[in-house]
Structures are given as C-alpha cells and as structure tokens.
C-alpha cells in the first residue's frame, strides 16, 4: 500500500451541551480564542470522539461501525472537513466527496436540471465538468423524463437518487459514505454498490459508516469499531465485525435479562390470580402473564448455555437448557411440568410436558429443580418467548408463566421460518457451485478485550 490518504491522530471532538444560559459565554470565548469551549465546565460538554487514531491507505475501503451515538458520523464529518477536531490532527489528501445527506442543498422550487448543476458546483466541480457529466448523472438517476420538473415534485426516492448520482459523479479521490445506500429500490441499491465497487477497482479511497455488517465484511479492507467515541477494535473486517456482534448480543442479553426480571417481579407481587385468561395458545391473543393456585410455585426460570452460564442470546444450533426452580409449601402428588416456545408473534413453535412424555408424578415437596436440555437449538434468527408451567394432570394450573421469559437466537445464515432442521446441500450432474467458506457461528457470552 502507498501513502495513506487519510490520517487521523488522537482525533477528539467535544461538543457543548445545548443550554441557552451559555450563549454569551460561548460567543465570548469563540471571539477570543476561536473555540466555543474554552469557558465551559466539563459537565457542559460532551465528548463525541475521544482520542481516535487511524489511517486509511490510499485505494483501500475503510468502514466505521458502532452503535448509535458512538461517534461514527462525527468522525465522518471531521474527515469531510465540515467540523474541525477539538484536539488532535486529521489530514486528508485529494478531493473529498461526502455522501452524508443526499441532495442536501437541492432547492425544491427549481428544476432537477438546475439543481444538478448547482449541486455539482457545490460539491466542487466546475460548470464545464458538470455539463460534461450531466447526461451520465441523469441516466444514472433514471430521471430523464422528470429532469425539468421542480425538485419539490419528486418522490423521496427520486430525490435521493438524484442526490446520489450527483455526488458519485463528482469523481472524488476520497469518497465518504454515511449509511446512504438505502436510497432506492433493490435495483438502484445494486447499481450504487456496483458504482462503489468500480471506485474501489479504480483505486479510490472509501470511508464508510454502516450498520449493514455483511456489506462491511464483504467490501472493506479494514474496519474500525467505535464505542462511546473511543476505538474499541480495529483491523480485519471479520474479526472486528464478530467482536462487535458479540458485544451487541451481550448488551441485548443484559436487556432481555432485566426486562425478564421486571416482568417476573411484577407477577410475584399481589395475590395469585385464579382464572386463566383464555387458555388458548393460538397465534393471536398471546399475552404474557401469570396465573395459578401456587400450590406449586415457580421461583425462577433460567436459560443456560452449554457451559452452564445464564444467557439470553444464543446462536442457532447451540445447546440451551431451561432450569426451573420450584417450591411446594405442602406435599403435592399430582404435578406436571410443561414448557412451550413461541415466536415473537405468538406462533407456537414447540410445546411439551412431563405427562405427555410419560413421566408419572410421585411427590413434590419443598424446593425442587427441573431441567430441560435442548441439544442443538434448531431455530432461525429471532426472538422467542417461553412458557413454563406447573399444573395438575387435568390441566388445573398451579403456576403458569406465560411469555415471561424470552431469548434471542442469532445466526449468520439469513434463512427464514422458525425451525431449522439439520440439512445439507448436494449438487450433481451439470450443476457447479462454489462452496462457501465455512465460518464459525458467532459465540456469545465472552466480551472481547477491547
């Protein structure tokens, strides 16, 4: 690789928190020092980027990923030169075109034709260059028949398409893209991706911010993961994306866990309800709740992974166990434990109980543990709700927990439906295929060392 096209060293960006009170103060310091921040107290400031260093070699494609508010867009704006870093340095070589907001600067009242010219000039082309590329731009945007209509009559898709077409035809050395690839229908998105691929072939530098992680993996040479304005990890796309996904899943796990705890707490307080509110586990009318006589009480439901750790996010195909702690204040001789899995929309995925499977109850008293192991969770990606119940053989509930527990299944494969049977493709005769690179499924539960 040759000299880097973008170099950022210790890039830090501090914004002031918005308060009216500080207007005079910020103006005064802006006038005296050229910065609005010098007179502000720490709590009046917000650090969007904190000492991020990176370099993008010329001709490479560099992605920035991270959760909302992690500083991605701030970084892009800094590289674009729209704002200046508070501390640190940033240098960019070559003409930059930023696809931060498509069609920013279009004037609604005037025609698409005039807007193309003005937008082109705004993005750094000369009048003549715009004229030369005009047809190409219009054809790319597929707007030939509307080009003389005022832009205010365009649909939002047309607007974005024209914006993208102009920005991409500026022919920059460095292209900055902020999650703008969702600009139109499938076909147009493909066209944009092709255009970006062409940029890569021609040795242009691309920096882009995206949440479309498989695109990031496919297109980028290098990925920077930002977390709360700091570099969490940087390097090989696969490695960084995996680490990021794991982190996101861990966050989701915590969220599901706390939601579950809250739901569970809400149902244990107050008197136990008698009647079951419509006990039909149909697709519609599935509402989380809890009822039963509590002659047997479910004290806790835990979802465990293969190593016995409590988790709420699993990888498709992984082992999952359901550990239920119950308590019977007085001895009970008629009891059945049941478990049901439901999709987020209430569709029943699977249901079973100890009676169906032939276990006959003898005696239950005091504290007890019941555990159900699923070997290889054959579900596709999605959120699933769990019913856990203890009841009599005739169905009279002791304690019925409907949908109070949930878990998420993650998968790299974008297959659809609910159930993923173990399967294998075989090709014979005249069919030739390229075998995909085998990839380990994500493994959750371990926070990567940042």
């Amino acid at each position: 690789m040759t000299a880097p096209a973008i170099v950022g060293e210790d890039v830090t960006k501090v914004y002031r928190r918005f308060t009216h009170r500080n207007q005079f103060k910020t103006l005064k310091s802006a006038l005296l020092t050229g910065s609005v921040l010098s007179d502000l107290r720490p709590e009046e400031m917000f650090t969007a980027l904190d000492g991020v260093s990176f370099d993008v070699p010329r001709g490479s494609t560099f992605a920035v990923i991270g959760e909302n508010g992690s500083g991605k867009s701030t970084l892009l704006k800094l590289v674009a030169g729209i704002t200046k870093p508070t501390r640190g340095s940033l240098s960019v070589e070559g003409r930059v075109s930023a696809l931060i907001e498509l069609g920013a600067g279009f004037h609604p009242e005037i025609s698409g034709r005039e807007n193309v010219v003005i937008n082109g000039v705004m993005l750094g082309l000369t009048r003549r260059e715009v004229d030369r590329r005009f047809d190409e731009i219009v054809d790319f945007a597929e707007l030939r028949e509307f080009i003389d209509a005022p832009v205010k009559t365009y649909s939002s898709g047309m607007y974005m398409r024209l914006g993208f077409a102009v920005a991409i035809h500026v022919d920059p050395e460095v292209l900055l893209i902020d999650e703008v690839l969702a600009v139109g229908d499938e076909a147009f998105t493909r066209k944009c991706l092709d255009k970006i691929a062409e940029f890569r072939r021609r040795g242009k530098t691309i920096l882009f911010v995206s949440h479309t992680l498989n695109l990031v993996e496919k297109m980028c040479d290098d990925v920077l993961w930002l977390r709360h304005g700091k570099t969490a990890l940087r390097g090989d796309p696969k490695r960084v994306v995996d680490a990021y996904l794991t982190h996101v899943a861990t966050g989701e796990d915590a969220q599901l866990a706390s939601r579950e705890a809250a739901a569970f707490a809400a149902t244990t307080e107050g008197p136990p309800s008698e009647a079951a509110p419509g006990e039909s586990p149909g697709a519609s009318g599935y509402r989380p709740g809890r009822w039963g006589s509590r002659e047997v009480e479910i004290r806790a439901v835990r979802l465990l992974d293969g190593r016995g750790r409590e988790r709420h996010v699993f990888t498709s195909g992984e082992t999952m166990a359901l550990a239920v702690s119950v308590h019977a204040p007085r001895p009970v001789e008629d009891f059945v434990f049941g478990v049901g899995l439901f999709a987020a929309d209430g569709t029943s995925v699977y249901g079973t109980n100890t009676d169906i499977e032939g276990f006959s109850a003898r005696r239950l008293e005091g504290d007890a543990e019941v555990r159900l192991d699923f070997e290889g969770l054959s579900l596709v990606e999605g959120t699933y709700l769990v019913d856990v119940a203890a009841h009599r053989r005739d169905g009279t509930p002791y304690d019925y927990l409907r949908g109070l527990n949930s878990f998420r299944v993650k998968s790299r494969t974008r297959d659809v439906g609910l159930y993923r049977p173990a399967h294998r493709w075989t090709f014979g005769g005249g069919a030739e295929v390229e075998i995909p690179e085998p990839r380990a499924e994500l493994e959750f539960g371990d926070e990567p060392g940042a």
Partner: protein
C-alpha cells in the same frame, strides 16, 4: 479580510450559480414571474408617492418632482435593507448545507447581497425611464458604479457580521427589523439632506450614518445631475472597508462554530 475576499473569489462559480438560483427560485410559481423584479419597485414607489404627495405632501422646491427624488433613494435603500434582513437568517436557513456538505459558509450572505444587487440593477432601467420622461437624466449617471461599489462593500461587511452573529443570537433577527426601520428614517431617503441647515443637530447625527452619504450621492448623480458629495462618499467607503474587515474577522472566528450551532 484579504482571506475572506479570496475565499469569495475562489468560490465565484458557486456564488454565481447560487445567485442565479436565488433569482430563479424567488418568483418561480408566481404568475408574473420575473416581471416582479420590475413590478416590486414600482409598487413601492406608488405607495410612498401616495403618502408623500397626497397624505403628507412634500413641497420642498429642490426635490420636485418628489416621486422621482424618492425613487432615486428608495431603490438603493431597498437593496441595503433587504440584504441585511435576509442575510441575518441565511446561515440558519442554509444549515443543511453547512452541516452536511463541505461548504464555504461566507458564500451564503454574499449570495444574499448579490441577489439583491441584481434586483436593484433590474430596477434601474425603470428609474432611467422615469428620469428620461421628466427630462432629468444627466451625464452624472455614468458615475453610479462608485456608490454601488461603496454600498456593496458596506453591505457585505454588515451581512457577514449579522449572518454569523445571528446563529448565536437568534434575537438579532427580531431586533434587526426595527433597527432597519429606524435606520431608514435616519437616512435622507424621503427627505432632502441638503435642505437641513448646516448646524442642525439632526444633520450632524445623519453625517455619522454611512448610508446617508451613499444615498445622497445616488440622489445627486441621478436626480440633481451634479455631484459634490465626494468626501462623504469616501468616508462611507472607509467605514465600509472597516465594516467588511470586522465582518470577515468575526465570521472567521465563528466559522467553526457555525456548523455546530445552527
């Protein structure tokens, strides 16, 4: 200041296209379209003529026909007043550009001033037609570029100043309306500066107003046909240069804050 001028010159293609966009967009969709550039000053003139010949007749002998005298001052004043009123909000209105596109922000107030200059220039032929009709068109009209230049520098400076400051204090937009109103009456547009006695307090106050000298020069060149206000015009020019330097300095200092505060 030189840097600010340089920036404007470098982005002249952009300024040019934005000015033409402003002009095109302004009357797009209206029935009269571009004719409004001519109709507007005529209607303005009609209103003031009605007021000062019928309701409050002005009989001062040296400024008759009064409507013509009025026209000579009100046309450049409109340019000045509209430029400032519009430029105070121009950065906020163009916030999208400043936040989303790498864009030299000083272009925005400059475009406002220049677009209004074009309106002013389009109004001039009407004024000339009236002057010809009343047989008042004198050779001194060829000197018009001088006061225009002075006014341009002054207006640009103030526009830079106001546009950047308004981002921090939106109150300016409200105050400005009234300041401009007062400024209008503090400038000899509807009355004659020459008629004020040399020693009067009013005249001494008016002398501090750079627009007084600009407007008086216009009136002399167009209406009276003899120019002797050079010293005043030169002072106005100096004030204009200072205003421009100050405006450019302030704008530059606030530049980095604009994208964040808009």
């Amino acid at each position: 200041m030189i840097a600010a001028l340089g920036a404007l010159v470098r982005s002249r293609a952009l300024v040019q296209s934005l000015v033409s966009r402003e002009l095109k967009a302004r009357y797009r969709g209206s029935v009269l379209g571009f004719l409004w550039s001519f109709v507007n000053p005529l209607l303005l003139l009609l209103t003031y003529t009605l007021v000062f010949t019928v309701i409050l007749p002005n009989k001062q002998p040296d400024i008759q026909p009064y409507f013509l005298f009025l026209f000579c001052g009100i046309l450049p004043w409109t340019w000045f007043q509209a430029s400032l009123a519009e430029s105070s909000g121009v950065i906020i209105a163009g916030g999208n550009l400043i936040k989303k596109v790498l864009f030299p922000a000083e272009v925005l107030p400059a475009v406002t001033v220049l677009a209004n200059l074009v309106h002013f220039l389009l109004g001039l032929p009407i004024l000339f037609a009236f002057l010809l009709w009343k047989d008042r068109l004198a050779w001194t009209a060829v000197l018009l570029p001088l006061p225009i230049l002075v006014q341009l520098v002054l207006t640009l400076g103030l526009a830079l100043f106001l546009s950047a400051l308004t981002v921090h204090f939106r109150d300016i937009q409200n105050i400005l309306t009234h300041v401009l109103h007062l400024w209008f009456f503090a400038t000899p547009v509807i009355y004659s500066y020459a008629a004020l006695s040399e020693a009067s307090l009013l005249r001494r106050v008016l002398r501090l107003n750079p627009m007084t000298h600009v407007i008086v020069t216009y009136q002399q060149m167009l209406f009276h046909g003899n120019v002797d206000h050079w010293r005043g015009l030169f002072l106005a020019f100096l004030v204009g240069v200072v205003a421009f330097a100050a405006g450019a300095f302030l704008f530059d200092r606030l530049r980095d804050t604009l994208a964040e505060e808009v």
